[in-house]
């Protein structure tokens, strides 16, 4: 689950939680400018895909790089 409010996802038992940006723009940050925002978005989605193939035993937080 990609979410800005990751604490809720963790306490409610989502197995793989990807830290998103803000509630208004979960998968990216327009303040970064077009190019950096694209990379950030790509990092988030890539981390989500990597997380899917990662074995977890409890709700686990994954933190994508912003830059």
């Amino acid at each position: 689950m990609i979410t800005a409010i990751f604490s809720l996802a963790l306490t409610t038992g989502a197995s793989r939680v990807i830290k998103g940006a803000r509630i208004e723009h979960v998968c990216g940050d327009p303040a970064l400018g077009e190019e950096k925002d694209f990379n950030y978005r790509k990092n988030i989605v890539q981390m989500a895909l990597d997380a899917l193939s990662t074995e977890v035993t409890e709700p686990t937080l994954f933190e994508p790089k912003v830059l």
């Binding site: 409010i5 409610t12 940006a21």
Partner: protein, 448 residues
């Protein structure tokens, strides 16, 4: 800080050629009052209607309800900060209040800039904030028993604001007009002797044998969607933006330092907050009431939410609190700051009691996030029963009787006639009908 509150009971409100208060009757020279309201060029149209408990009347689309209050001595004005009113710190001296009457802000205006202002626009009803201002209550019938505004005389001010102005200016104008009317009413009692006087001597004397208790109130900020910095939503000294936690003297509440309507709160409710009154009444007997902390909710980043909660708990620790009572006034992601404030207090060895409504019983947990630290919870109920609609299930549609008169918006969401009895609720409105947040009504709950 010592505050003396003089109460005048209002049993009737009538139209007259002089605005005055005598023998529990408030007389209003409506023509003269409207002239004063219309002297603001941002108000292009205004009218006043009076609704009394027991009337077959539905009030639709109220933005705020204000209890007339006025400072007789001491610094500042009641309902400070908002609409260029004095920002002087309030809470000391003498304040007079009129009990049993509320000035209702009814405007055709949507408080956000994006949506159409038409009453009939479907667009108005898509998201909670606009439909939130289609919230309604009846002055009689089954719902009148549970909604506190049905039990007071409503002096309704219906305004139209200049559509060429910005939303901020229009929000401002409609709230300023309502405050102006509240001031006109409260001025009628300046020279009179109140029916009742209550003295609130704020928490200076502390009995070392009793535990210290703080009240933490959480207030939604409409900053993200309102584009209004002060005139719409619940403000603290008029400020509605997201900002750091405030340490307030409980007396400041009685002078309206925390005021302004949002989806579920009104100024009337906030100045009559029963939690603060009850904490005061127990001060020195069962507890030491050491103060109030107000926090803003609906930050949009996890870190901001955590900072807010942690700072609220830090301030509570710093003033020596051993116990905290926590309330909140909205829904959804606002809950994150609220429940984490409970946790942060408990982690700081401050025992908490959390006063909250419950989520829809069919959706699982009664709280959005259940943390083990929230051990003592007072439920104000689910807030909706067979009177209140759930989703689009016909048998749960709002079952209110047909009424003779509608004050405010004549149609509500999805173009429905506001007079009709059964209301097909397919908008967010359903969640904003009435939710008790401070324990003001008479309902009690069963244990789980």
């Amino acid at each position: 800080m010592k505050l003396e509150i003089g109460t005048f009971y209002v049993k009737d409100v009538i139209s007259s050629n002089v605005t005055s208060y005598e023998n529990e009757t408030l007389k209003l020279n409506i023509e003269e009052i409207l002239k004063e309201i219309l002297s603001d060029r941002a108000i292009i149209n205004a009218s006043i209607e009076i609704a009394k408990p027991g009337d077959s009347t539905r009030i639709v689309g109220y933005r705020d309800i204000i209890e007339p209050r006025i400072k007789i001595s001491g610094k500042g004005v009641c309902y400070p900060g908002v609409c260029n009113r004095s920002a002087e710190t309030v809470g000391s001296g003498t304040t007079f209040r009129l009990d049993g009457v509320g000035v209702v802000n009814l405007s055709d205006l949507s408080p956000t800039p994006k949506k159409n202002n038409s009453n009939n626009s479907k667009d108005n009803n898509i998201k909670g904030i606009n439909s939130g201002f289609d919230i309604l209550y009846d002055m009689s019938g089954p719902s009148a028993d549970i909604i506190p505004y049905s039990k007071i005389i409503n002096v309704c001010l219906i305004t139209n604001t200049d559509p060429d102005l910005s939303i901020e200016k229009r929000n401002w104008a409609s709230q300023e007009a309502t405050l102006k009317l509240s001031d006109i009413i409260s001025k009628t009692v300046i020279e009179k002797k109140p029916d009742e006087i209550e003295i609130f001597n704020s928490p200076e004397s502390v009995n070392p044998d009793l535990p210290k208790v703080v009240y933490i109130s959480c207030h939604n900020s409409p900053e993200h969607f309102s584009h209004s910095v002060s005139a719409f939503g619940t403000g603290i000294y008029g400020l509605t933006r997201l900002n750091a936690p405030w340490l307030l003297n409980p007396n400041e509440w009685f002078d309206g330092a925390v005021a302004g309507g949002n989806n579920v709160s009104t100024s009337w409710l906030l100045v009559n907050n029963p939690v603060i009154k009850d904490l005061y009444r127990r001060h020195g007997k069962e507890i030491n009431f050491v103060g109030c902390i107000a926090i803003r909710t609906r930050w949009s980043h996890q870190t901001e939410k955590n900072i807010t909660s942690n700072q609220a708990a830090k301030i509570a620790s710093q003033i020596g609190a051993e116990g905290a009572i926590i309330t909140w006034d909205n829904g959804g992601n606002d809950f994150m700051e609220v429940i984490r404030t409970v946790k942060a207090c408990e982690d700081s060895k401050i025992k908490t009691v959390f006063i909250t409504f419950e989520e829809h019983p069919d959706t699982g947990s009664p709280l959005l996030e259940t943390l083990p630290e929230a051990r003592a919870i007072v439920s104000t109920g689910w807030g909706r029963n067979e009177l209140m609609p759930i989703d689009s299930i016909p048998e749960y549609d709002l079952k209110l009787p047909q009424v003779n008169t509608v004050i405010g918006k004549k149609s509500i969401f999805a173009n429905q006639n506001a007079l009709s009895g059964t209301i097909d609720a397919r908008s967010e409105l359903r969640t904003y009908l009435w939710n008790d947040r401070y324990g003001v009504n008479k309902w009690s709950a069963f244990d789980y």
